[in-house]
Amino acid sequence: MVSLPLRNAGAKRIRMDASTLQTFTSPVVLFFVLGLLAAFARSDLAIPEALAKGMSLYLMAAIGLKGGVAVSKSGIDANVLAALGAGIAASFLLPFIAYGVLKGFAKLDRINAGAVAAHHGSVSVVTFVTAVEILEFQSKPAGGYMVAVMAAMETPAILSGLLLARGMGSKSGQSTGAMLHEVFFNASVVLLLGAFAIGMIGGEDGFSDVSPFFEAGFKGVLCLFLLDMGLIAARRLMDNRAITWRLGVLAIALPLVNGALGTCVGAVIGLDVGSAAALGVLCASASYIAVPAAMRLALPEADPGIYLTMSLSITFPFNILINIGLISALASALIGSGGPPS
């Protein structure tokens, strides 16, 4: 689709299997699997709501801070701006592809196709965070600025999704102003960007104070959070009544295609291997927090049984268990794991 700078791709074997398998000995992923299994076995294991919410706030604050500190060292250069631009464009444009296949292949009506498309254009913070951990583990760290890219990608897809569902001229029940406010000041955008700014202002020095909390605890919290996500994803899947096999196929095909597209774009605009993979993961991931809340408000007629089950119970596990590994391998194949082209 795009002409790619496949630097010495011939010389590299696609290390897909290794990357993918490594994933499965990481405690982070194993806890996710435990959650899935426990829910399928109908165990009553459950994480209290307040705690899960707290862990997600913690993860966002920590990843924001970390990104901000990284950018305070590296500075903002052309790469950063290119990544931001690519991310925003992807978030805005990917829903159009998704909408097409959702209507064409899966025969969804306009409203539901728009809603699902918005979810797949937007991003999942936890998928990103897990990918960052796995990429670091594979010695292909993503740039700190990718946190800002993620925050920037949350919103545009919502706008395209609404456009697709409602058309340009139509009226929604909710005023557009309220919707836009909700979208730009939603909790995760504010916390991610706020923590990012604090990290940039405080820099390495300011961060050292709080790093025992935000850094040392990070992976452990991610373990428990993914345990909970596994429980929720599997329970929703078992209660599912709305997902046809065509929708199930798309919930896997969309992240596959979007992830590959995003990684390729990352390679084209010259990102290093970790950052290109992170961009791929962002494109592949589907929102299951911010966008569902916005859709309840703006497209109440759309069925959460469709959009939530697809993004949370199929796309999310597929990304965590398989797709992150594939995207990482693809990025290495395209760019070389030795870092950005020198």
Binding site: K53, I232, I289, P300
Partner: protein, 102 residues
């Protein structure tokens, strides 16, 4: 014996994400106040749901005390969106002290 007057008590089960829609409708009906209480889980025709927080599908009860005519105004305002927005509305008569407050 203390004097009481009769008012309507309306309870609306709604998704958290659209609570604002409901409370705006209450305000618009000229009712003096409302109270939101938590909900843990439930089952309806859509199947079982748990307290599925983090996800935008969890629910709350909004309850409000109002005189008959305002209660009807509210019910009429919400009726058209009950089905699209998945609201559940029940109401009944209750006695309150200090009727002038509601």
């Amino acid at each position: 014996m203390i004097e009481t007057v009769v008012r309507k008590r309306i309870e609306i089960l709604t998704d958290k994400a659209i609570v604002r829609l409901v409370t705006d409708a209450i305000d618009a009906a000229g009712i003096t106040g409302w109270t939101v209480t938590p909900v843990k889980s439930g089952k309806g025709r859509d199947g079982h749901w748990r307290e599925e927080r983090v996800m935008g599908t969890d629910k709350v009860f909004v309850l409000t005390i109002a005189p008959q005519e305002k209660a009807e105004k509210l019910a009429e305002a919400l009726a058209p969106i009950l089905t699209t927005h998945g609201l559940l509305l029940t109401m009944w008569d209750v006695e309150v002290i200090r009727g002038e407050r509601f």
